[in-house]
């Protein structure tokens, strides 16, 4: 096996594992802000019980997110040195901004959120929760900016690297790199906003399905019922809105992908031959014969999605040289399974909302069981969305530019194919570190495999323990009907411990 393949596998594996945790952090952060704000507003201790319980799980997820996140930042340098040299001026800025604006905010206030319950006032605690939630959202902004720049580069130019004022030449070829021309054009490159919104929606879906899964399990077991109902109905609201929004956001994103990365959308739909295009619901693309086998689809569906016209031609893979096409099968499968799951989420959340409205949800046991396991689907949809986005970008690690004709076709050369200027982009296969060899990467890949799989097992085990343990009622008499008294008692507790902490310092 070669360094490129191993490095790609390692990157895919480590990002795939890491990706679970920031999404949960973003999704659960919003739920926790909601619970704490409700507690402050209503004084109902049940909200505080819920917020404290979710905080513990949040902290667990966060720690794994941090630990696996450092890996991501170092890996550009360790495995993708040529890429790092080519894009550092542009891409590195977004990463550095993420550190300064997001990570410090998150980690600082996380300490108050997790350990500060008895040290700071409830108001200050809500503030800390809001800050952690904002920090996780800022972090997603910068990292999606950086990744979107790879997909649809903007705000930069490609120039020769200078050494002492002279072009730097290695083996007779001048070394090139990307440099920032317009920072805001880089930040708001054509795909940033579409992709960011879609990532957030994915995070909200995952976070709320995670909360609903655990709550549904409590409801089925008849434990912590009031707590579980509050958590479930709050999360269901988010999940329903997010699932419906994903449809809208996905639509706009597909149109944007077609405009900026037509080969990617063609790979998503297995659209080999330019012309009117179907939207496939199912199928198996076959590169050898360039057809989609076993296909069930909406005739003209993709044409309609892109042009609002069932007969309009859509650029297919035939406009691209074979070596310039993304791997079709992986792109097609990940994209379609993601959409299928998204449709399932819409049906599930609408049905649950309807039953909640009719007052029957908590008696519909089969549906609660579905929700216990639906979180796995939400996780899968998020992961597959990422796979589709990244595999669909291949063979490029930085996508080179191309043009459109007025007639709505891509500009092609005399060969009938899109002629990319290779110096304005970078191929994934050319981006790895020259200093490393396959055995090193194989070693680290195996190492990460062992460590991450054990981490996953321990995470699930500890999570299971926490769920079995359940939330601890807050304050004397909490959970009963003496909400006001309990709330008053809580306040007394807080003032006591605050004095306590001052006395000690």
């Amino acid at each position: 096996m070669d360094v490129v393949l191993l490095s790609r596998l390692q990157f895919a594996f480590t990002i795939g594992f890491h990706y679970i945790f920031p999404l949960l952090t973003i999704g659960m952060g919003v739920v926790m802000v909601y619970l704490e704000a409700q507690h402050l507003r209503t004084g109902d201790p049940l909200f505080e019980t819920a917020a404290r319980f979710w905080t513990r799980i949040f902290a667990l997820n966060f720690a794994i997110g941090v630990a696996t996140g450092i890996v991501m930042e170092f890996q550009f340098g360790t495995n993708w040195a040529t890429y790092s040299r080519f894009v550092g001026d542009v891409f590195g800025s977004a990463l550095a901004a993420e550190g300064i604006f997001a990570f410090f905010l998150e980690s600082g206030f996380l300490a108050l959120l997790v350990f500060g319950w008895d040290r700071i006032s409830p108001r200050m605690h809500l503030f800390a929760t809001v800050m952690v939630s904002l920090g996780s959202i800022f972090s997603s902004i910068w990292i999606v900016v950086a990744n979107s720049w790879q997909q649809t580069p903007a705000g930069h130019h490609i120039v020769p690297v200078l050494r002492d004022g002279q072009p730097f030449i290695i083996d007779g070829v001048p070394v090139l790199r990307a440099e920032i021309v317009d920072f805001w054009a880089l930040v708001f490159n054509p795909s940033t906003v579409h992709r960011l919104v879609h990532v957030w929606i994915g995070a909200f879906i995952l976070g709320s399905f995670f909360v609903m899964s655990i709550s549904a399990w409590y409801l089925l077991k008849g434990r912590h019922v009031e707590f579980a109902k509050k958590s479930f109905s709050g999360a269901l609201l988010f999940a329903t809105i997010a699932s419906l929004s994903s449809l809208v956001s996905g639509h706009f994103q597909a149109k944007s992908v077609y405009h900026w990365q037509p080969a990617k959308l063609a790979a998503f739909e297995g659209h080999y031959e330019s012309g009117p295009a179907d939207m496939n619901l199912f199928g198996l693309p076959d590169d050898a014969t360039e057809i989609v086998r076993f296909k069930i689809g909406i005739p003209g569906g993709l044409s309609f999605l892109v042009h609002e016209d069932f007969n309009a031609p859509v650029v297919g893979l035939d406009r691209f040289r074979v070596e310039d096409r993304p791997p079709v099968l992986i792109s097609f499968a990940s994209y379609h399974i993601m959409i299928g799951l998204g449709t399932v989420f819409i049906c599930l959340t609408l049905l649950a909302s309807f039953l909640l409205w009719r007052g029957k949800l908590y008696k519909t046991r089969w549906l609660l069981w579905v929700f216990v396991f639906a979180v796995a689907g939400a996780l899968m949809a998020n992961e597959l969305g990422w796979v589709a986005a990244e595999v669909g970008r291949q063979p490029w690690i930085v996508h080179p530019p191309f043009g459109w004709t007025d007639a709505g076709d891509v500009l092609t050369g005399p060969s009938g194919f899109v002629e990319y200027d290779e110096t304005l982009g970078l191929r994934t296969k050319d981006a790895v570190s020259p200093a490393i060899d396959a055995s090193q990467v194989l070693g680290s890949l195996i190492g990460f495999g062992v460590i991450y799989l054990s981490l996953l097992a321990v995470w699930l085990y500890v999570l299971d323990q926490k769920i079995r343990h359940g939330p601890d009622p807050v304050g004397p008499g909490a959970g009963g009907d003496d909400g006001l008294l309990a709330a008053a008692a809580r306040r007394a507790d807080h003032s006591e411990s605050l004095t306590g902490s001052q006395g000690l310092s």
Partner: protein
Amino acid sequence: MDWQTLAVIWFLIEGALLIGYAILDGFDLGVGILHPFVPVDDRERRIAINSIGPLWDGNEVWLVTFGGALFAAFPEAYATAFSGFYTAFMLLLAALIFRAVSMEFRSKVESDRWRRFWDMSFFGGSATAAFLFGVAVGNAMLGMSLDAAGNFTGTLRDQLSPYPLLVGLMTVALFAMHGGLFLYLKTEGDFQERLRDWLWRSWGVFLVAYMLTTIYTLALVPRATANFERWPVAAIVVVVNVLAVANIPRSLHWGRPGLAFSSSCAVIATLVMLFGLALFPNLVTASNDAANSVTIFSAASSPKTLGIMLVIALVGMPFVLAYTGIVYWAFRGKVRLDDHSY
């Protein structure tokens, strides 16, 4: 501002981030290194872990920001160093992962075996990380063999010569002492008393390693002192460094642990400055051919990017210092265990 000034400013900012990281994560790595030795029962182990519980995560962000800023400001150096030290970095990442999750997992399950495992993993991760940081610094002092494009051409064995290993040992001892002093400030009673002996021991080991490293550096790493001829005033750093090292036992003797901790912060800060003085203007020194060295000028990003980054840093750093201040203030004083502790 011209490009060369910007490059020098970014070299100084990188230095400041590294100092911040080494001082802050230094003490929490140190708490991890002392973990199997000082606390005797579960309660004391929890106190040790919770002394850094709310802080370690923010401390590690200094490293992440250092890495991100290196990537943005000096992409050539980032690419050369990280791919050149591939295996060491992978080990470092593994160590940092183990350390982080050990703290999180350890107290979640009431089982002796479970806790003993994560205690050892906390120690192992902390000690390995501290050691590897030292090894990296040692190798950076010596330089590595690079081709014209700045790619490492040596092998892992080249990176395991005696000098880097010695610097690695010194770093472990330094962080153990630094962490011990921090823990001393956060504990009381019997635990604190026992800690005292370990402060003396770690200071002693550090002193030996420190002197050996100094001799070795002066004898065998000529570039370490070259810049002092250019800027004789830099000798102040050496003086402060030596005084700070000496002030630690003095402060301990007079019962002023706070001053001893500040001195140990000063030791770390001045050691990082000496490291910077030894490197400048190189970021990665080529040991085979000086022309292949990656300098701050050959590695820097465009002036435009350096300027943008400077604005980002100027806007962001006051906030960073404010968060750091709030957190350290909220968790000041001796460690108290409550329902939310690890």
